[in-house]
Each structure stands twice: as structure tokens, then as C-alpha cells.
Symmetry: C2
Subunit: 189 residues, 2 copies
Amino acid sequence: MSSDLHPWAETLSALHDQVWTRLIRGVHDRRAAARHPTLATVSADGTPQARTIVLRAADRCAASLRFYTDRHSAKVAELRAQPKASLHIWDNSAHLQMRLLADVSFVMDEDVTAIWASLPEVARHSYGSTPAPGQPLRDALDYQKTPDPAAFIVGVLALQEMDILHLGPQHRRARFSRAKGWQGVWCAP
Amino acid sequence: MSSDLHPWAETLSALHDQVWTRLIRGVHDRRAAARHPTLATVSADGTPQARTIVLRAADRCAASLRFYTDRHSAKVAELRAQPKASLHIWDNSAHLQMRLLADVSFVMDEDVTAIWASLPEVARHSYGSTPAPGQPLRDALDYQKTPDPAAFIVGVLALQEMDILHLGPQHRRARFSRAKGWQGVWCAP
């Protein structure tokens, strides 16, 4: 009856701990599944959108995550109109699906200037593009990437709910919410 | 100036071919990245939702994909209210991100009965749950999975747009749309 490989899936608190262990690992380990979550948003016409992002920070006390992006990208426009996102991670090594619903805001202060200053030159090329990301081109390489601190923006995901599914000898699924102090409840997988 | 590893990224038609090669591989190869896309939808309150699905069919002529699910799952209710989905695949071996926007419908005819009949017994346990998927439980394993043909439903994703990003020595991004016969246009990555 026990999930031999993953005993952390057997109690709500151990499962919640495991989610944060995996998220924090994603910030520091390029090969961790949580390094590259899928960020789902809703566009102005009500259609869902999804793309890979890089997880840059995970703060368990605040229950928040951070990512970097170009201020001129479609996802920034979408999130300013509808500041809700769902982050999706499938961690194959743990047989664990993490679905994280969040309120999203953007940071634009001295903190961002300090983060920019700490980025290696090669990383800065991801922020600043002519034309802007998504604009049509006459040819595939007819664009320039020029590091632009004014294009650099930090997104903050304030987690509201987690829907966690573990696929084991018997599947287990739990929901945790900020409103209930993250204590969690089992639900049918 | 060429993407040595992936010459198929250099023309719009070769890139479009490559997307379909990868999707079709996902149907037949359990280890292919396209086997397990992330399906993003919008819930009734306007928040984005995302979860892993299994790709079951890919038809290039119709530009459609299929997945199986439990009729009582939240995604079916979400898709009946807002029949748009975005499918997201990151194929690490190809350095390729596929974002596929689709209109979604459900099949409920003899075809579905035939698919059910062809499923192995173990696979049928994914369709039919008491209580329904997502319902709260008193304990983690306080549910039964009983194969139920009436719970089995086939989702059809009629693709409308593809946003394809290849990360190479120089990044390339293209959009293809059904409305323009899938001919494609390059855009800024």
C-alpha cells in the first residue's frame, strides 16, 4: 500500500515540503525539471497561451516565484490585462505533476537594476530586441538582440493554489491553498 | 550562419515538416517529448489552467490532434465553456518549442466505442472514478477507479495556429496558421 520509491507522497505536509524542495532545486540546477516550467496565461481575446520560462527565484516563506522576461513580450501584455497565471511542471524523476495557480505582478525598482547589473553579458542578450518579440520578419534572422536594461522586467508569481499529483503504485493528488495556510486536502486523482 | 545540428530549422517548410514529424513520433514513442504535451485551458472564472496529457493521434491532413480523458474531469467542463486550448511542447533534443493553438471538440459516437474496445484493461482504469477527479477525499486513497465506458471521452484539437521557436546558434521563430494554408511567416524570437 505504500509508494515505496517516494515516501514523501504519503502525507500532506511531506508532499508540500517536496514541492518546495523541487522548486528551489529548479532555481539552482539547470537540469532539474522545475528549471523550465510552462507558464500559462490568458490573452486579450480569452484564448489560453503557454510557453516555457526559466525559474529564477523561489521563496517558500512568501510562497512566491520569480522569472525574467522582455517587457515587450506578449506574455507581459497578457499578464497586465489578466494578472493570473498557471505554472505547470512535470517532474519525471519524481513522477510528480505540479500545477501552481498564481497572481502575477511585475517589479520595476532598484531591485531590478541590481539584478540587471548581476547578469552576465551573454544573458543580457535575451532582453532587448528589434523588432520586438513576435513581430513578423522578412527573413528568419532579420532581427537584432541588443541588451537593453529598459526591456528587462521581473515577474513575481504570488502562489494562491497548488494542485499536486503523484503517480505511484497508487496515485495521490492534493490541493494546497494560501487561503487555508497551505495545510492541504487530498482529492481524487 | 547555419544551425548545424538542425538544418530543418532553416526554411519555413522544413520547420513545419519537422513539427509534424515530432508530433507523429509523440503518438507512437513513449519517450518522445511530444508524447506528453501540456494542455492549457481557461476556467469559468477566467484563470488559466494547465496539465499534462497524453497525445493519442496526430493527423497532418486535418491538422488535428487527439487525447483521451475522463468526461467528469475539470478540463472537459472548462473546454465545453471555452473550447480553445493551447498545447505546449518543449522538445529538448531538438531545442524546439511548439505552441499550438486549437479549437477543441469532443467525439461521442461509434468511433469512441471502438477506441474503448481496443484499450487494454489496465488503460481503462484511467476513465471512471468515484468520486469524480478533483473531488475532496477524507484520506489519500479513499477513491475507486472502476473502468467506465460512459466516462471515456475523446478530445479533438483542431489546430488553428502554431508558434514555433528553435533555439540554435541563432534563434528562429515562425508562426503558421490554418487561415493562411500553413505557409508560415518568420517572426522575432
